[in-house]
Symmetry: D2
């Protein structure tokens, strides 16, 4: 993910005419030699074996964090304390307490922040948001979505850091955060949830081969209520055999609907109920220059963007925030709300009842 | 629906070589003149203005019920008492009590029954069931499904009998029963649910034009737990703008997955995790003679079946049951289970907690 | 195919309120015993071992021909001579000479005729025709289509009557006729063609197991010019591995386009260039009561029709013609045009040059 | 396109560990000031107003040409003469004579070349080629394809340089070259064609508003024969309303088939006839690290590549050729063959007969 960050900054530099242009200055890795090697390949000017040097370096304006989840909070808090803007991978932190502290620190300092909810920067999601906000599909009545992948579907898939609860592990934290963020972004605050987590593979082989108990969820499902009155379901699974990037959803409204899947990220399905029944149906819209963010990369519809370009758009949003321009950055507060919803789903599962989201 | 029944019996007669061949003998309508007219068009030998005459007629072996839901129980109970087999439209009854009584009566009498869960008779659903039962997709881990239509999406859609609670109204009862039945049929008993119902259009115009309060749900969502350990979500909506027959689901297993939508009823998507990653993915299987029930209608894959032919397959199952042959009929007990699950979802919504299904 | 005809007439009787209602009266098979057995199963009143008795029977109004292609002409000519209407499977005849004679005889006698171009009776094709005729997609600029199946893809697929040139064999005759008919029906007369036929499997096993030389085409491709100025490509293949009913085409116009495949026969894709680029794209229209012919079978969109119901619509058209009502029947003249185009493609292939049709 | 080239070189530098790493050194534009501005934005070290200085500059190893087609030949010939490798946008040249001279010069000099057939570098096309070459779909029997776009569909679309015959204008040259290249790449040499060109909009508004006669084709269609015995159709259209990047094709073989469309560039459809009929069908393969070229950009399937990344892969191939490594570059000779096929289609149209390629 660190590599993806670096490339996105490089790409942003050539795609956008940004002022000031971003410079890859100082890279840290706990292994100083690896840091130096990475600097050479990725084009950083300097490297260090200690992240603490980055956050206080006077030439650094923005700290990008792509470490294991446990380190998000200490790095971000130190950077904010030193007056740096922070761009952090999701989830914001390994605990709700840490996440809350990070929001408080960033808001107290008045510093710009951004979190890696990359899929929200897709031009087709931008279009979906415009359509919903403009009332083109009427009042939203439901959002039903999932983030389904299958990289842990096999019982033989090894135990890894994503399986550690203390590292914000589990499908809900890892993948569910994306569909929660999508729901929140498109339909607004969620105020009540009823969820169910399940662990299918209760033991997985560790690196050494021995079986290790798993205490996080392989999949999670919830019914949710939105503040606007809409209802919905949210699912997350990393054992969904066959799905590689099944971040998919349907938004229904009183006058139309939208459907999307990240496995076809350059398409949005739109139904509008106003037309003649004889020729009505879902329209497959192909990403093009009319959609927010696309035109910087390709001059015409049909060329299509890839995942890395969504990351580049995200970096542009972060740089906009840094420069004080209007920005589409998803900040720490947004990320905290996502975690609060995930936490409510976990509590609901534990207590077997509906839970209010704060 | 009465017309659909009659046509399905006629069609079954020419499609299958059945012994004995079904004869459309006696049709009832509360309006005797309409009954006579319908008899002429649909090819019944006799007609009557009183259903009570049908259920006791000595020449009648099988009573098919396609009346408003409130009449299902009295007709079925009278017919069973008179020793007739009964084929009834879904939902089985307007109340859980009536449904329970119908099951008791049919089982006490030892008479064959069938309920109109037509979508379960689709050859592609038969294939899905075979695949799941054979273990081809491993242990089932989740079923996520919905039945989404949009015929009540507009606030101006008129109040009708489906909006009457006493007539088993609401999206959950009307459409939810189909996706519940599908989940139950493919993955087995559901033992716990947490649901949420919502009514978006709280007043609808009545036939006379005056606005009438609506007390049934426009949409319902639930998280469910299956007895086998699988988890899932079930949704029903008749306000899902753009969907015409969105009975769709994904079944995931430890070794593969299945996906289906009734809007493409002749297709089943299958993923098997055993193959080489380089060429793996979901395979779109097109209905053909290899799939249960298809060959009676078309000699080759690609010709495709329509809804009415699914109804004909259902009628064949009923006639098989009547003749004492092995039968795929979905009987009263199956239908009662579906209603028990729907009832549990309603109770869960009311009490804001998880509810056990009996 | 005889069975499909009989069922379609039976189905038409219950689906439509037709006056006079069709009666299955007399069935012929060269084996009198088989004829009698078929009569019992399919519901014919009488049977015979000699088709010559059918065509002159005073109680017969309409003769339906579902024999091998070589017999189409003698039966049709005898029936027309006896004053009967004729409904014949495609291709019209085994030779262009026979087909021409059949048209002449039917037109001289002023008798209604129909040919089994079943796919043209699909409500979605009816919609496509309406859209094109109304100018909604502007002036048609191209039709590109194919009929691809794979039942002869394997070298081991046995030699059968479709492989006999004297029986109008080959992929162009068998399948190409469908896509030619579609092009002709939607875009109008074709006046020039340049084609290429190819035989991939030059020997196939006969019933006895011995290899037999094949002299017909496995696939055919042509570039064509329409009288209206549009251009196009037409392909036919029975060795197209993976396609089961790949009758598919795109029609482009100056203001929009249509796309269709028979493998999803209840869908039509429509693009109209008038809308805002931001939300434009192909709309997937699902068959419903708004489309010609659908409403007789299902009350709402999404239920979907199957192949046999297209056949029933075709029979209705034939019965309309018989009763003197306006009819959508594709008559002998239409079928002759289709064969003339196929013949021109064969001549073009032989002579390696463009050929005018007629 | 120049911008796309520059970005692709920059991207290649961070994506691949290349030795030597490419440096953006000297950029030319006929307007020296624009050249200087572009250098600053795109990251070139130097700029010039005269391309002749680039081709002889001692520090330049590789000349990339993204000029109007008329300039391809003079720049490439000068660069080759000066001993530089050349990377040129398609089409190779404005005339077949120029293209032939360019091949001769490059081969005489023994210098590496590359041409911008970007779509061939898609990992899914790489997979298709592997599948075909390995015999997984048996002997190829047909390739049917098209490149359909709609940017010239409206009669009001302005006359531009693509409409000038002397600048290699027309849909066949502009878009047809892509589908010809694809056919050639996947199935091998084409040796005979029969084509038809058509101009629908015979006058288009010029920049000044006056109508200007159009002498190039809006669409072209051909039946083709491959040296391997396969047959096919090729179409090109820039008036195909609704298609944005409709580079699509089907390859059929005796044991399987492949289908693809660039509008879903991260997917390949594969049918293999070996499996059980009950579960056979087209499998939708999603691009992933198992496919050639993908892994450099994304670590897992489902992330997806965009057009610009295909360009980056193309640049890597060029740099491989420059460094003497095995390379997937599509060289001048390949590009010449594409033009020879297009030329044969034009001659066939003119002479109304089949034409041999070369």
């Amino acid at each position: 993910m660190g590599r993806a960050h670096a490339r996105a900054f490089l790409s942003a530099r050539s795609v956008y005419v940004l002022s000031p242009a971003p410079v890859l200055d100082l890279i840290a890795d706990q292994d100083a030699e690896q840091a130096a090697a990475a600097a050479a390949v990725l084009g950083f000017a300097r490297s260090t074996g200690d992240w603490r040097r980055v956050v206080v370096d006077p030439d650094v304006d923005l700290v990008a964090i792509a470490t294991p989840n446990l380190l998000h909070a200490p790095i971000a808090l130190a950077a904010l304390q030193a007056g740096k803007a922070v761009y952090c991978e999701k989830p914001l932190a390994a605990t709700l307490e840490d996440a809350t502290a990070m929001v408080a620190a960033s808001e107290a300092a008045g510093l710009p922040t951004g979190v890696g909810f990359t899929y929200l920067h897709n031009p087709m999601i931008g279009l979906a948001r415009e359509i919903i906000a403009s009332g083109e599909i009427g009042e939203v009545t439901a959002f039903r979505g999932a983030h389904a992948e299958d990289f842990m579907a096999a019982a033989s898939a090894p135990f890894n850091w994503r399986c550690e609860p203390e590292n914000a592990g589990g499908a809900l934290a890892d993948l569910g955060s994306h569909i929660i963020a999508m729901a929140r972004y498109l339909v607004g605050p969620i105020d009540a949830v009823s969820g169910r987590l399940s662990t299918v593979h209760r033991r997985r082989p560790s690196a050494g081969g021995a079986l290790r108990d798993v205490h996080v969820d392989d999949q999670a499902d919830a019914v949710v209520g939105f503040a606007c009155g809409a209802t919905g379901t949210l699912s997350a699974s990393w054992i969904a055999s066959g799905w590689k990037m099944g971040l998919s959803f349907q938004v229904t409204g009183t006058k139309g609907s939208i459907a999307f899947t990240q496995e076809r990220l350059n398409e949005l399905q739109l139904f509008s109920s106003g037309g003649a029944a004889r020729t009505s149906g879902f329209t497959t819209i192909l990403a093009g220059p009319e959609h927010p963010g696309y035109g910087a990369f390709c001059p015409a519809a049909g060329h299509q963007l890839g995942y890395n370009e969504l990351k580049t758009i995200e970096v542009e949003a972060m740089l906009d925030a840094l420069a004080g321009r209007p920005s589409a950055s998803k900040d720490f507060r947004f990320a905290l709300e996502v975690e609060q919803i995930a936490d409510a789903i976990r509590r609901s599962h534990r207590d077997q009842r509906w839970v209010a989201v704060r």
